[in-house]
């Protein structure tokens, strides 16, 4: 009983079990068979199971909802996927099942869109449009029985099948809940991030770091202005004040991204991001963030040095070069600010990743498709019959 002993809230386990039992009972009533089939009773039980499931989701993981539109869309799409999935699983007529499957695919595509995967949404719609039409053709070709038939009006072990399936789902949900509890406990004990667990996307920057990077971005914009490098009398600020300003930016960036070891009067040290993420060396996400931090560090040294040179020695300095470097630095700072978000150019980045990191898998998938085509032709070939 260790499994249940670690649960802080026994109500949650009861809710999951109730939802699974209701769903199993509903499926038992809905599945086509000669006796005890009740569409009304089964629908009521499945709807009740969905309601209990939703209540459990809200109670276990729900938070106050600042993002109303996103929440409403998520509820619509997931209810659509689950509802039409139920229709597909219990529908007597396979043609109607194929239509229900089309709606399941559309709802899943809505969820993909909410998860920032527009290319996958389009690809899934395109591929399954073809797949569903082919399924229709097969239904029309092979399954044209007018009256009741064994395959459509009978079910294998409806009670045991639904109980087994939904017991499996209940166990998965229970494991999810326990994982969430343990992750939440670890986070509140460590106190590294005050944000709640499993936000989408996962918060990489602390709010303080994000605010510092935002400040640095607005201040860097001023360095890109021509007026900053003009004659002190015309600009209205003394050389000393401008040096102070550049020094302020440097300190802000150093606090987040760390002090470069090559600097003349600087000490060797790490910024706050590095200190937080250095422990996760093998994590892909942490590695990517640390790379961006390194880029900001290098660029800030060269760019701000050029700006300082331009201010102190206007005869030798080149304001255009300094401005170009500052623009690059500002881009990198903004990229670091958005670390943890998916890149905006979904298709381009997917393509880059496919052909840079997963080239062998792409080749294997192509080979698999070829083999499957040959296999399908070989299986469906009529031996000994002239075409």
């Amino acid at each position: 009983m260790m499994l249940f002993a670690t649960t802080p809230n026994p109500l949650v386990a009861g809710q999951i079990a109730l939802a699974a039992l209701l769903a199993a009972a509903g499926f038992f009533l809905l599945l086509p068979k000669p006796r005890v089939r009740s569409v009304a009773g089964g629908t009521a039980a499945v709807v009740a199971a969905l309601a209990v499931f939703g209540a459990w989701l809200y109670q276990a993981f729900g938070r106050p909802m600042p993002d109303l539109v996103g929440t409403v869309l998520f509820v619509l799409f997931s209810a659509g996927a689950l509802g039409f999935g139920t229709v597909l699983a219990v529908q007597r007529n396979p043609a109607r099942g194929a239509i229900a499957f089309a709606f399941v695919v559309l709802s899943t595509c809505g969820l993909f869109l909410l998860l920032a995967a527009p290319f996958l949404m389009a690809a899934t719609v395109i591929i399954y449009a073809g797949a569903i039409i082919v399924t229709f053709l097969f239904v029309l070709m092979l399954s044209q029985s007018a009256g009741p038939s064994d395959e459509n009006d009978r079910t294998r072990e409806p009670l045991l099948g639904s109980l087994a399936g939904f017991a499996f789902v209940g166990l998965i949900l229970f494991t999810l809940y326990q994982t969430q509890q343990s992750v939440g406990a670890a986070e509140s004990a460590g106190g590294a991030l005050s944000a709640p667990a499993a936000l989408l996307p996962a918060p990489v920057m602390t709010p303080g770091e994000a605010a510092a990077l935002d400040d640095a971005t607005t201040q860097l914009r001023r360095l890109e202005d021509d007026a900053f490098y003009g004659d002190p009398a015309a600009v209205g600020t003394s050389r000393q004040e401008r040096m102070e300003f550049v020094g302020g930016i440097e300190r802000t960036l150093d606090g987040v991204a760390g002090v470069s070891p090559g600097k003349e009067h600087g000490t060797i040290g790490d910024g706050s991001v590095h200190g937080r993420l250095a422990a996760y060396r093998t994590d892909t996400q942490a590695k990517a963030v640390l790379e961006r931090v390194g880029r900001v560090r290098e660029l800030s040294r060269s760019a701000l040095d050029k700006v300082e040179l331009t201010i102190t020695d206007p005869a030798k300095g080149k304001p255009d070069e300094a401005k170009a470097e500052v623009a690059k630095l500002r881009e990198q700072v903004q990229l670091l600010r958005g670390a943890g978000e998916l890149p905006a150019r979904n298709v381009a980045n997917l393509g880059l990743l496919l052909y840079a990191d997963h080239l062998l898998a792409v080749e294997l998938a192509g080979t698999l498709l070829l083999v499957a085509t040959i296999g399908a032709i070989a299986i469906a070939h009529r031996r000994g019959v002239a075409a």
Partner: protein
């Protein structure tokens, strides 16, 4: 706020519905669609984790799932065609002689209830049937 756990829970439920359908239904085409639905549930998991970790590896994996699903569909539908040619039926239980030795066959005890269907109404023809002309044979 919708967090990662919500997506994982919905994906698990979708997978479970597909699993029940695959275990209990007897029509080969419906079983195939239920298996595809289980794949959709898994794909939601991958895409949610891709968003959570801020990289695209999960989405790439879903692309490979799509490729494997296409292969599966091709081979499965070719197999259905072969099975249908042998038995003239899409019922998987028609192939239960392939079961393990010693397992009793599953027999359908209850007779199928056929819903009495009212025949479509037929209109009584109004007027007389026109006499065939010489052109009719050519037209048909």
């Amino acid at each position: 706020m919708i967090v990662l756990w919500h997506y994982l829970a919905v994906a698990a439920a979708l997978f479970g519905i597909g699993l029940v359908g695959f275990l209990t239904r007897r029509n080969l085409i419906t079983m195939f669609l239920c298996a595809e639905m289980m794949l959709q549930g898994v794909a939601i998991n991958f895409v949610a984790f891709a968003r959570y970790h801020g990289n695209l590896h999960g989405q790439v994996f879903v692309l490979f799932i799509l490729a494997v699903a296409a292969c599966e569909a091709g081979v499965a539908l070719a197999l259905f065609l072969m099975l249908y040619r042998r038995r003239k039926s899409l019922d998987v239980s028609g192939w239960q002689e392939l079961r393990e030795v010693g397992v009793p066959p599953s027999l359908d005890a209850d007779p199928l209830v056929s819903v009495p269907q009212t025949p479509d109404p037929v209109l009584t023809p109004a007027g007389g049937r026109p006499a065939p002309t010489a052109e009719d044979a050519v037209r048909v």
